[in-house]
Symmetry: C2
Subunit: 323 residues, 2 copies
Amino acid sequence: MKKNLPMKLAREVLQGNVRAAARLIRYVEDELPSAIEELKVLYPYTGKAYIIGITGSPGSGKSTLVDVLIDAFRKKSKTVGVIAVDPSSPFSGGAILGDRIRMQRHAIDEGVFIRSLATRGWHGGLSKATASVIHVMDAMGRDFILVETVGAGQAEVDIMDFAHTSIVTLVPGTGDWVQTLKAGILEIADIFVVNKADKEGANALKVELQTMLHMNAHSSEAWKPRIFLTEAINNKGIDGLVEGIYQHREFLFASGKYDAHAKEKGRLELIEVLRSSLTDRILQIASRDDYLDRVIDDLANRRTDPYSAASNIIKRVLREGIF
Amino acid sequence: MKKNLPMKLAREVLQGNVRAAARLIRYVEDELPSAIEELKVLYPYTGKAYIIGITGSPGSGKSTLVDVLIDAFRKKSKTVGVIAVDPSSPFSGGAILGDRIRMQRHAIDEGVFIRSLATRGWHGGLSKATASVIHVMDAMGRDFILVETVGAGQAEVDIMDFAHTSIVTLVPGTGDWVQTLKAGILEIADIFVVNKADKEGANALKVELQTMLHMNAHSSEAWKPRIFLTEAINNKGIDGLVEGIYQHREFLFASGKYDAHAKEKGRLELIEVLRSSLTDRILQIASRDDYLDRVIDDLANRRTDPYSAASNIIKRVLREGIF
């Protein structure tokens, strides 16, 4: 009898092999079934990396900030993984990747591993894909993993759930903190970065943020979000920011919140995996004999409704006993 | 034997009762099981309203545009429903609702029904909720339903799937079309509105958009996205925009795409309903006897992985035969 070979790719990833990791991440993006088998092998070795999420409106200098943070961690002899969660567009392609060009100076440094993750086709599965790529980099032995999001919407908030420290970047004089407020991402921030702090209004923005944080009364055991002024492009204020990240990490460990966080991440990922595997499987079965197409016809002609149709599909699949 | 009474709320909604519709929408937001029963009654009477989606970056004047579009449709004696999909924040509350104040002048007009839909707590279920609220307004007999999103991210793109005509708003000189491009929403636009067209760069932005649309070669049968310059706040350019919306509607009917669209909407909503009902039900069953908590503990301690755990949960639920 033929036995499954132990997963070669996973073993190479565990040895820190960058090319193997890159290939596995491609398999994850392509949703190959073998990717799951590899990830199963890797999972026991994960949970060691420290995850930092960076979000904020476009143009707030997130990529530049990530770029200088890489330098700062490398100076401390820490290895770094970067995941740029990047909505792609048939129109854009090169233009967006251009943002990443600055980071290419790290290309010859084996201690820095950068991957973009496109949202195209994911429609909600993005946080599952991000979690998988985090596992790959974690299993590679990266000390810090920076997850940078391009936009600032609900999808980004969901992704920030996986970060130990969530950083929200803002720029003075753009009114983009109102935008960030609207997207509901201000309350997920452990650290605020007022970037491009040489611009007029940087201190005013800091005061606004402080007032707003004060309004949101924290209990005494809670972390009090900190605010840092930086000029990422001139490498100014970065040491303070890194210090702030380390302080937040200390806080998580000392307060026991680090363990609570690990559980919460596990719960969120489990639900995502359950959700997508259940839906995929049931749609696959319901598609047999054009059953699904007929249901969709009935919906369009108002012969049924989505709630009754969904419940009929579930009943049919269970009756056929094919799960 | 006690028989279920026919759904009173649904019958009132079908008579165009605004208070009944408002109450049902609250039930939808609160995810009350009775809301589904009411929606089942309403569904056969839906599919008549024309849905217009309006998205674009914050500050591009979407609310003002919606406000003047309401006027334009009312002048044509059409009834209007407006759904403002509004991410809420514990910090914001009133500030965001302030945006809606301009629209309150329509409050005494029975032909205008405006509701905000908050994203708080939905985490991905937003498009299902939006679809439900569209059904309520559709069943009320509204001729046009305007769905306005606050941000411009993946969640917003998903919501635009429900619109017959998708409008993307842009403002000259803000570089926000680059942001919109990044969010991948440019290619969903049937109509572009360059709002605040009195600002410098309006024509340049129009030319940029035209060039970009030209690059994205359309087949000869496809709709060619149109670009309109408006100053919503001064009610300028709105007649042309409304004309453009009517032309797009004519195109959908003449090309048979209107029916294809109805099917696609049905399919999307069915999948959303399947996804959430499956996940809710299985999590509910898995939570018995603290089973789920123990699995989450095992995940945190790396005694299992999310993929094996998900498949074990499904097997357990099926073995117990409780679906």
